[in-house]
């Protein structure tokens, strides 16, 4: 396999749901990724600074408490200024309040610059598969 890819992982905003974050950390590490876990209650800037310092390939944002949309707003712009234009942005958890039409939610997060957007109940295998596709087959060059 190629060299290890680095993922910055964390829970954004004032969100303190810690269990999923631990599970993700464990599962991604087991799958062969270098995981930089910045933990819960992390502002956008912490994700971005960690990605700069560790030369990360992906920023993986969790949001469980329903404020995901406002917490994620403007993140892609900041990534651009920070020189992270090629770093992939993933987001998952319970990213919006209550039950909303997934298609719309996905569209809104896409427009905000996120590359992959996961609904509640996504299996971790699915995320790992996507990561491999995006990172190892030079998938992005074709986008």
């Amino acid at each position: 396999m190629q060299d290890k890819k680095t993922i910055v992982l964390g829970v954004i905003g004032s969100d303190c749901h810690a269990v999923g974050n631990k599970i993700l950390d464990h599962a991604l590490t087991e799958s062969g990724f270098n995981v930089v876990n910045i933990g819960v209650m992390s502002p956008q800037e912490d994700f971005i600074n960690a990605a700069i310092e560790t030369d990360a390939d992906v920023i993986m944002v969790s949001s469980l408490y329903g404020h995901g949309e406002i917490d994620c707003r403007g993140m892609k712009d900041k990534c651009l200024e920070a020189g992270l234009e090629d770093v992939l942005l993933y987001v998952g958890g319970n990213i919006v309040v209550g039950k909303q039409e997934w298609k719309d939610v996905k569209y809104r997060f896409n427009a905000m610059g996120f590359d992959r957007i996961y609904p509640p109940g996504t299996s971790l295998e699915r995320a790992v598969e996507d990561l491999r596709a995006d990172l190892y087959k030079d998938h992005r060059a074709a986008v």
Binding site: I48, I52, H67, V97
Partner: protein
């Protein structure tokens, strides 16, 4: 008698303010048209002759200092990467330097845009992009475009520090450039003072774009800053005070002119309620916004045709006017002064529109969102609801019988507004029109400037 002479070269008038060097007194003020026979020097000489006559006795000028907004003032183009981030930070730096920002560009510029830049009448370009250690593509690309298009005006580089060497190499000897600190060194953190200072220095050394100014410069010490920078400086010292003289605290200045309405605020503007979260780019303590579509003369037209037409009718209070005619008259003859009550009333109605809209644009806003925990509130921009003072300057306010009436429009009267305009400010008036002179004075004697402003700026 020893005195300081302060000169303000305006687009229409050159104003002189003679200040006693020892007592905190304005000895006299005088003004004359800026250009007489197409010459700034002659306008200045004329005003000085009139001033001497007015004073009546001999005085010795210990020091002369000038500011200028002649020939359209200092014009800057700002370039950044993301519109809300480095492009906005660059724009704020330029405004803080007292410039008129003629356009702000973002991302990587194309040839069309570069042509626009080249054909503009800008005096300086402020080039930003990327946080320190961050994005380098954009600023390098834009520097290359500037070099390729052989832009001949000074370039102030305030972007990603990691690109400095490369930018220097790209510009080489063909481009006049000045490297300064990044306007946004870290995400959401602004750092506009170093860029501001460099811009002021360039302005001071290159103010040759005004015909006749070179000659004047030999007669007076130096034109040290653009007029809006002098007003901003005066606002700052009046708010903060000096070592021995206390300041007034949070303060905003409303400056209604013919072409623009400027608001200068000296306030942190943090949220009043602890439950409100702050978002967006950090606000500078000294913030200046300029509304190029709001003014009493040249911009009366854009005000009327744009956002202000409904408000204008509201502030005219059903009084009958031929609106098109009144507006056109002002747009075409920017020098006219109201000659009767009706004209004055109309001017004051325009002034109210200027105050209303420019304050609304200057202050921050609150946005509410539903969340699992109930409503949450986000603030973007400054909260000026608790602002202590609103200070008015400019001819229309100074000459009004009821300037308070005009300034009052700047306050928020609605109970639950999401717009963070001041609510209970007291009103002050720059009755003697000395703010810019006091900004200049503060560069030689800050204590005196604060004392004199507290003496000459009156509560209304």
């Amino acid at each position: 008698m020893d005195a300081y002479l302060f000169i303000d070269f305006g687009s229409t008038f050159t104003k002189l303010t003679l200040v006693d060097a020892y007592e905190d007194n304005v000895i006299a003020t005088e003004k004359s048209h800026t250009t007489v026979n197409n010459d700034v020097a002659e306008g200045y000489e004329k005003a000085l002759r009139m001033l001497r006559k007015k004073v009546g006795k001999a005085f010795n000028i210990k020091k002369k200092l000038a500011c200028s907004s002649a020939a359209g003032g200092l014009k800057i183009i700002s370039i950044g990467l993301v519109p809300e981030l480095t492009a906005e930070a660059a724009k704020r730096a330029a405004l803080g330097a007292g410039a008129k920002v003629i356009k702000t560009y973002s991302f990587q510029l194309n040839h069309c845009e570069m042509e626009e830049v080249k054909n503009s009448d800008a005096n300086i370009i402020l080039l930003a992009g990327g946080t320190d250690g961050g994005n380098s593509k954009s600023i390098i690309h834009n520097a290359k475009m500037i070099a390729k298009h052989k832009i001949s005006i000074p370039i102030v580089v305030g972007g990603n520090k990691s690109c400095t060497d490369e930018v220097k190499e790209i510009f080489g000897k063909d481009i006049e450039y000045y490297i300064t600190e990044n306007v946004m060194p870290k995400l959401n953190t602004i750092n506009i003072d170093p860029a501001r200072e460099i811009i002021r220095k360039i302005f001071m050394n290159n103010i040759t774009h005004v015909p006749g100014m070179n000659e004047v410069e030999e007669k007076i010490s130096q034109v040290i800053m653009p007029t809006p920078a002098a007003v901003l400086r005066a606002t700052e010292v009046l708010s903060k005070g000096s070592l021995r003289e206390s300041g007034l605290g949070d303060l905003a200045v409303v400056d209604i002119g013919g072409a623009t309405t400027d608001i200068h605020s000296a306030a942190e503007g943090y949220p009043i309620k602890s439950s409100v979260l702050l978002k967006g780019l950090q606000e500078p303590f000294m913030k200046r916004t300029v509304e190029g579509d709001l003014g009493l003369r040249y911009s009366a037209k854009s005000l009327y045709e744009g956002s202000g037409s409904l408000l204008l009718k509201k502030y005219l209070n059903d009084k009958k006017y031929n609106l098109d005619e009144e507006i056109d008259k002002r747009y075409k003859n920017v020098d006219i002064v109201p000659e009767n009550e009706d004209e004055r009333y109309f001017d004051e109605a325009i002034a109210k529109v200027c105050v209303d809209i420019s304050m609304e644009r200057h202050v921050g806003k609150i946005e509410s969102l539903y969340s699992p925990t109930g409503m949450i509130f986000y603030q973007e921009g400054k909260d000026l609801q608790n602002l202590s003072y609103l200070l008015g300057t400019g001819g229309v306010l100074v000459n009004s019988y009821n300037p308070k009436n005009i300034l009052e429009v700047g306050l928020n009267k609605e109970e639950n507004s999401m717009i963070l305009k001041p609510r209970n400010s007291k009103f002050l008036l720059d009755k003697e029109y000395i703010l810019s002179a006091m900004g200049l004075l503060s560069t030689i004697d800050e204590e005196k400037a604060v004392r004199m402003m507290k003496k000459y700026i009156v509560e209304i």
